[in-house]
Assembly symmetry: C2
Homo-oligomer: 152 residues x 2
């Protein structure tokens, strides 16, 4: 399927997430979208690194999108590093200090500033990697077996 | 997409794997197909349970398919329980003792005999869950972003 045919189906934040997920692969991180670490929180992109590192990336397509998010600091306790992903037009001076910054579009991204590391406790990392695995496997199964969805 | 349109694209063993993966969901297990736990081994279905349990299911579509597999006992050290999945016509008396048995078709499956439990060591379980997570995430990403494949 030609790449551009995907674009109209995705919201602006999802397009940024797509570029972020592509870029994370170049750091040997795999990723999922819209994982729920705990009820009431849903992360845009969660990356899993080769040593079990967990990164969270929140994608903001505009100033309004950023300003309507009052929950972002709740994500910090679910990851080793936290990043914002925005496009080149975003006023990055709005973003809080002590967070990572990724400039993204629908096709790729670049890490401008690493989020400071705050390592997860081993027990929580174990839980998060297992949640990540289950989330990813459900989506992969839905993709390879579309008929399965109607059964459950 | 209607369910049956998928069938012609899959090999007999893959059809069994599809039914097995569907059935595992009813046990709250998610699954991936064709994971490589170590170079030279590729498991048909690896299931991940709610408590981090790892099951391996080898799918055999015929006597010849079973008899050509000399590697199956190599899978035992990568899982907590091992199962064969076969269709109703398979001569199950061929299967070695001390292994689990699942009767499957392309649509569903049933566990006839649990594989005996032989628990993974914690360090290996950790590695396997992480491999599972990465395998599943790569496939889920390929499904949601088909254009990504050409870039890497």
């Amino acid at each position: 399927m030609p790449d551009d045919l995907q674009l109209p189906q995705l919201m602006p934040g999802q397009l940024l997430a797509r570029g972020v997920s592509r870029h994370l692969r170049s750091h040997d991180f795999v990723s999922v979208e819209e994982l729920v670490p705990t009820p009431g929180l849903r992360v845009d992109v969660m990356g899993l690194g080769p040593k079990g590192e967990i990164w969270v990336v929140e994608c903001k397509s505009s100033r309004a999108d950023f300003q309507s998010d009052s929950k972002w600091d709740g994500y910090l306790e679910w990851c080793d590093r936290f990043f914002w992903a925005v496009d080149t037009d975003f006023p990055t001076e709005l973003l809080p200090e002590g967070t990572g910054l990724i400039i993204a579009d629908a096709y790729d991204a670049e890490i401008i500033r690493m989020g400071p590391e705050s390592k997860l406790a081993p027990a929580r990392r174990k839980v998060m990697i297992q949640k990540f695995a289950r989330h990813a496997a459900v989506r992969a199964q839905a993709a390879r077996d579309p008929g399965m969805v109607v059964l459950f």
